[in-house]
């Protein structure tokens, strides 16, 4: 007889639960006052171009906030966001799982502001970050040049990319690409045969080394497994400091370039890509200027604070 209770009780509970949930009202948006207060804190505490993750994903009122930051609604679909040394998170009512950053970052700031929580998550190496090229790709000057010295400027900025004039797929900018099965954010810099594609970052505060990664997107290797190699060069003040070449293998290739000879100065950093045959050469990279110790980073910070206003907006301050 007892088992006869199971089904009616379970269904009655289910019906009650369903009524309560289905009649729940449309959630109220976060108030303007709260957003203003959050932005005020962020303006003091955050660096420009740092990612801000907003939970819940549907909090539409966040769209026009954090204008100088990379806004991510909900858990990032691009794993590239997890590569950032510092990530901010705004948590409002209705948020689901927000603990996923624990695997890569450490919570260093947590404050309740109005009806939301503002959190800052940091990686250990954040102390050493001096300049991030991916975040500042909009400040770059992009051009094409060939061996005869012919130059074409790529000065049409569209959809987060500098579009080059020769072929419309030849562009440089922030992209989301699939690398070794994971969606990642990186600088897309598809090379063009007979030309060198160059991204030029001026006035970059230099320090001990430039650290980064480069890769061919998975699609490039799947569709053309024997495609041409892409030559990837890094120059500081016109001196070649890194010269790499891609193999047709999936996954990121790490690089670290010693730039200690430029430490403490502001320099022009160039990233150049070229190839003999450009079919399916979906090349992308990301890189940062890093100091080798906390002290030098602090030093840089002081120097930067004194620097003129022409510095790139995404620079660490």
């Amino acid at each position: 007889m007892k088992y006869k209770y199971i089904l009616p009780v379970m269904i009655a509970a289910g019906v009650l639960f369903a009524f309560v949930r289905v009649l729940q009202p449309v959630p109220e948006p976060i108030t303007e006052e709260t957003w203003d207060a959050v932005e005020k804190v962020m303006s003091k505490e955050a660096w420009a171009s740092e990612p801000v993750i907003v939970h819940p994903v549907w909090e539409h009122s966040a769209f026009q906030r954090f204008r100088n930051h990379i806004l991510t609604m909900g858990k990032p679909t691009s794993k590239g966001i997890f590569a950032y040394p510092r990530v901010w998170m705004v948590i409002a009512r209705g948020a689901g799982n927000t603990g996923y950053l624990e695997e890569t970052h450490k919570l260093t700031y947590d404050q309740k502001i109005g009806e939301v929580r503002l959190q800052r998550w940091e990686k250990p190496e954040v102390e050493n970050l001096v300049f991030d090229f991916f975040s500042n790709v909009r400040q770059a000057k992009v051009r094409l040049f060939d061996k005869k010295g012919k130059t074409r400027a790529c000065n049409n900025y569209r959809n987060l990319h500098w579009v080059c004039p020769v072929r419309d797929w030849n562009k440089v900018g922030q992209s989301t690409v699939q690398v070794k099965g994971e969606w990642q954010s990186a600088v897309w810099q598809h090379p063009l045969a007979q030309w060198t594609t160059e991204a030029r970052f001026e006035n970059v505060p230099m320090d001990a080394f430039i650290k980064g990664q480069y890769a061919l997107a998975d699609a490039a290797i799947n569709k053309l497994p024997r495609g041409s190699k892409v030559s990837f060069r890094v120059l500081v003040n016109d001196k070649v400091v890194g010269d790499f070449s891609t193999a047709n293998k999936k996954g990121w290739k790490d690089f670290q370039i010693d730039t200690s000879e430029f430490k403490g100065i502001r320099a022009t950093v160039l990233f150049q890509t070229s190839t003999s045959r450009d079919a399916m050469r979906h090349f992308c990279w990301r890189a940062s200027v890093m100091s080798d110790d906390k002290k030098s980073s602090e030093k840089n910070k002081t120097a930067d604070e004194k620097a003129d206003s022409a510095q790139p907006s995404g620079e660490v301050k």
Partner: protein
Amino acid sequence: MLTLTEGKGFMRTRLAYLLFGLLIVGGHLAILFATVDNMGLTDDDDFYVPAGVEQADYFAKMVTKAVKGDFSYIDHKKIANSFRIEHRHPGVAKSMMGLTYLIFNRILGWYDKMDAARIGIMLFAVWIVYMIFRMGWEIFGARVGIFASLAFILLPRSFFHSHVGTLDIAVTATYLSIIYYCWRAQRGHWIYIILTGVMYGVAMATKLNAPFAILPMLLFWAYRWRQVSVLGENAPMTRKRIIWIILSVGTLSLPVFFILWPWLWVDTVDRFIEYVRFHMNHYGILLLYLGDIYNDPFAPWHAPFVYTGVATPFVTLLLGLSGFFIALRSLNPLYLLRFPGGLDEKRDFALLFAVNAFICIGVVAFPNNPKYGGVKLWQPMFPFFVLLAGYAFDIMLDHLGDIAKLGERAKKIAFPVALALCLTPAFIGMMRNYPDLLTYFNELAGNLPGAAEMGMERQYYDQCYKSYIEYWNSQEQWKSIVVSYEPNQHEYQRTYPWYQRMGKLRKDVRFAGPDRARFMILTHERRWPRYPDILQEYRNRKEIYTHSIWGVPLYTIYDLKPEEDRKKPPKPRDDKAVRKPGAAIESLRKQQTLRSRIKDHKAEPVKNPGQKQAEKGKK
């Protein structure tokens, strides 16, 4: 079994059966017709409807000629020409769409092309409800028939798919028909034995999911075979009948499959191999599942189960799962060996439905297949699932009656009350998402807001929005509206023009790239890897409209060039001017007058394209 209440007169039961059947099936048909205009077109409508029209044309011509003894249409070239748009999938659903298009558009002229073709799919949906009602009532009793058919109608996503010009609801109907005729064939007229075989062929010629119906059928016949050994004459069907049904399926299905798909009439072997090979290596399609994007590799095996768990109304889900597990009791080897208690048709068919439900979702979940499009790929599971829900609902009512010691009268009242209580949340949920029912998520997921936050797709299928059409139709202040539709303009620029052709969307809304567009429509589809980048790029632009359901934005319209409103009203487009010669001359006159006022101006007046074309023509 044909009973409403035990012990009542046959006529009264028969009348109730007809009345409820007519009410539910007729009501469903009326609702489908009434809502067709609100169910946005999808990328599949744009693809399969023209293919269906093409195929129906072919059939009409071929049959007309063949009747006169002219078989010239069974020809390599003519078949190739008639199956240009789509020949990756078999033809039943498409031919049905083409047929209803011919009847309701070309002959009767009652509906526009798209809606007329969609009626074909709506008829399949009505057929599903009819079969659910009949099987539910006749196998399990009136309460199950009524509950299961209403529960199916109130599955929000299936309701949406019941309008879409594609194959999923069609294969749901034909798959269910196999089981329906299999059930009818076990005792009924010999025609049902033939129909089982024919229907298996029809289902094969609808979509690739259908042939998998053979697995539960074989298990069922093995089960029945065993029953003959144990129950002897009390068994529900004889072994001879089982063999006849198997023979019918084995001999009739393949010929029917080939007859219904003219694409295979020539180069049969090569084309059949190509068909199988295409589906064995189906390209990946993006899916957002628990916050991660899947394409290659495909989503994990559990994605279909979780999507079903959050996209089926909660009470129906609870009842369906209860019914499923109750049905699995029959797999107990001791039961299968002895069948203690004799014949129990309810139990037998509950097991058959449970196995079918599992196979329908399992063939998508377990092989290394692309999984995408919410719950659309395993739609054939849902009729079995609601029947199992009805089965559990019936058991629940029995248990409730026993516990509460309800009298006959109280039992009669308990049924409609329980029916209303169990299905009302589904109805409310459906209405709160209407008409964008692909955004439906159940109470367990926290409805749409909870599911979106969980990282599930809040929309897919490149669905057009009724609200989008209404929005532009109401914006009289703008003329010649140029829009860019991200992240997947490629599909939307093919589907929305259908509304213009049907006269539902104003004609001056057209698509262009983001650099040339005045407005950007951003659908918040996170499965597109580019979505975060696009949101980042455009979110600071002037937002003029956001369509939200339950506070969750589905798409936002940005004005990329609000400064254009401050400029002079735009001149009519040159191509329009060409169509009106007087207007073209007028605009040239104005240009010349303006230029003559500029001192030292020696350049040639700017020519409009029409003038250039005229000059080319002279040359």
